[in-house]
Symmetry: C2
Subunit: 433 residues, 2 copies
């Protein structure tokens, strides 16, 4: 009881500061430890208070160390609208603009169990691992990529790394001879940055590039998928013109529900494509395990250099993930996430139609992670999102050049139970113009 | 009992293959899983058998996935002597040539406990972390570096990464304007490789370089340390000539027992030195956590780009390490390792004198990780090490241009209890010329 009082005090203290605007968006709260010391309470008490503030949307740990007064998802967007935000302090109740993982979608207990048992491999943990990644894990990943993404590969072609960037740091020096890379999505700054670091020219023009960096499963943020014909054409075009394809298959697990589309790597027999995959979206963003599949030619040049590059993923995580996949948890995890996101996407769609009737037109998406729609009301997309934001709802602006506002909902961070409430708020926004 | 029989069968099976030379050095054993399937026994049974083969020096998991018939430590050396090795199959009993961590030196149970509790921070693990590294951990590391290495820094200057190379991948683009880097130890290929990848010229000449990459705590492999005066001169030289120092303080925790030597970073006020530190040698090589301390100027340019680089260390490990340091386990871990290695180094020294008397001259080292000595027998260092190796003992050749063989023992992987036996074998090597 005492503890409850204590954390409620802390909760109210910050709630007031934030609501009164004394703590503007983006302000960092003191670290749990410092706060505990200052108030002379236990870290748990502070943690509980912060958790409540999180749940009620006042603060977010997202993309930050410690906790921050809830901010507006992706940086660029934030900068654009910072100025008008300054004198407009509303805490975000429901954030449909930033990605992450739904708390319900990941069974932490299972993962915990595997990490614990991995920690028992004392003998194995005493030595540096294979720079390429643990053999057993590479076997499992190769099998997984063959079965779910029809990739053409063996464990020999797999390189494991702590995130796609780490893998690009190994790949770029291997393909130095190629000078120019075309990014289908130039706004993917964390990708372009690495290539620029190595002195590559980065552009958006496939014709004049030696490398084509593409995300066919994700060609737009709300899940438009590159069709099969287009894929054939691309691999054909690349082969005929001696261009290397880098297929960043990020998010593929949440595509192709009814009609699976083969990976580019599979389509060209794995000879001319480097395939990049990650487990961060499937498991936890905070688990940093990605992999790349190299064509045999690049595999050979990599082997000559592999001892120069240390493995970046801790062996514990590798051992854990290996057994986790082997025992079928990855697949059931994928099924579970798909189910959850599909439900949420259906619920939200129904709610929108139920509340807005003819005023809303729900647009097709290939991803259960997003719901896209057009509101047939007389204002620009910007105004619409600004008003929604002023009422505590963050939305993605999908298209600004339309007569009617077109927006998208990212379903990752808002829980099923909060969808109804958020739509009701949105209804008021529209009603009150 | 049944199990014991089973694993002894597997043990003997491979022991014979290896001793008979049917499985030459470097041959990979089937993965535990495959072996278990083939023989239709439990993975644990196979694991136990492999463990015994490890303990008896027949196989090693070192630097490899799975298990390999014990090989000869570092690659370069291996290549040099591969040819004469081919028709000379002896399994290595005691490997004094390759580094790692002594099984006794690390208390896995404590670390396990911290990882387990880190895995309970569900809310925190659902989001991507700070690209720079978790705030709390950076605070602890900054304090640790200030207290143990008199570094001048705050958490703001700390960048965390999965290994030194990952940090160099962030650093190199920040110092692109500098074109040439001097490595005091050009044989550190994993360092030079990264700089070459970014198009830096790498040489061994401080005069003509813009960057000086040095390991003052480790200026030779067996622990020669750069003296204070030399450090002052170096920082002075660097500042006057506008050269940036990169201080790779790898292994510093095992130096300076009686007379601590300040870090270069501390000596120059942290303005002109990038400090690199790692926890792999302190904890486990398989835990990949390193950090760099940037001068304020570079900290500022890093901040402008930090959102372009994802953090590579899993948040679980960061949370665990943070509490681990905070609760004082890192310091006691260091004390414990020092004690263990000092004991081993003393034991080995005594054994050498006891067994070889005037024939051996133990040379001064500043590191308890190594024992260096000269044997006053009439053969070259190469021959001496080759004979030792033929009898199952791997040694480091420290100097080939001496009348008497000069060698070093790396104490990491051979347990205290095996020291006596290894010296006895060495005695026979010398006796039988």
């Amino acid at each position: 009881m005492k503890n409850r009082k204590l954390y409620m005090q802390i909760y109210d203290y910050y709630k007031d500061l934030i609501e009164s605007g004394k703590m503007p968006e983006g302000t960092r709260l003191p670290s749990i430890r410092r706060c505990a010391e200052e108030r002379n309470v236990s870290k748990t008490t502070v943690e509980t208070a912060y958790m409540c503030l999180c749940d009620d949307g006042y603060i977010l740990p997202k993309n930050q160390s410690g906790y921050y007064v809830s901010n507006r998802g992706n940086l660029t967007k934030k900068q654009e609208i910072k100025d008008e935000k300054l004198n407009q302090k509303t805490e975000i109740l429901y954030d449909f603009a930033s990605s992450g993982v739904d708390a319900e979608s990941f069974n932490m207990d299972i993962w915990r169990r595997y990490v614990k048992s991995a920690l028992r491999h004392n003998e194995r943990l005493l030595f540096y691992g294979d720079p390429q990644g643990e053999y057993d894990l590479r076997c499992e990943i190769a099998r997984y990529a063959r079965e779910t993404r029809n990739c053409v590969c063996t464990e020999e072609n797999i390189v494991i790394g702590a995130g796609v960037q780490t893998l690009l740091n190994i790949l770029c020096p291997l393909i130095k001879n190629k000078k120019t890379v075309c990014f289908d999505d130039l706004s993917y700054r964390q990708g372009t940055a690495i290539f620029k670091d190595y002195g590559f020219k980065v552009n958006g023009d496939r014709e004049t590039s030696n490398i084509i960096y593409t995300s066919p499963s994700y060609s737009t943020r709300w899940g438009d998928v590159m069709g099969v014909q287009e894929r054939f054409d691309l691999t054909e075009f690349a082969r005929q013109n001696g261009k290397l394809i880098i297929e960043d298959d990020y998010g593929s697990e949440f595509r192709y529900f009814n009609r699976p589309t083969p990976s580019l790597q599979g389509l060209d027999g794995g000879e001319n494509t480097v395939y990049l995959g990650t487990f961060s979206k499937l498991l936890l963003p905070s688990i940093r395990i990605s992999f790349m599949i190299l064509p045999q030619s690049l595999t050979n040049s990599y082997k000559k250099k592999k001892d120069l590059y240390n493995q970046t993923v801790s062996k514990v995580d590798q051992i854990a993930l290996c057994s986790y996949i082997r025992d079928g948890h990855l697949n059931s995890q994928i099924r579970k996430s798909r189910k959850l996101y599909s439900q949420k996407s259906k619920t939200l769609t129904d709610l929108l139609i139920e509340n807005f009737g003819n005023q809303v037109k729900v647009l097709r998406t290939n991803s259960p992670l997003y719901v896209r729609c057009r509101f047939e009301v007389n204002c620009t997309t910007e105004d619409f999102c600004r008003k929604a934001e002023a009422n505590g709802i963050l939305l993605i602006q999908t298209n600004s050049n339309t007569t009617f506002p077109e927006i998208a909902f990212d379903l990752a961070t808002v829980g099923q139970k909060n969808l109804e409430n958020s739509v009701k708020i949105l209804k008021n926004v529209v009603r009150n113009g």
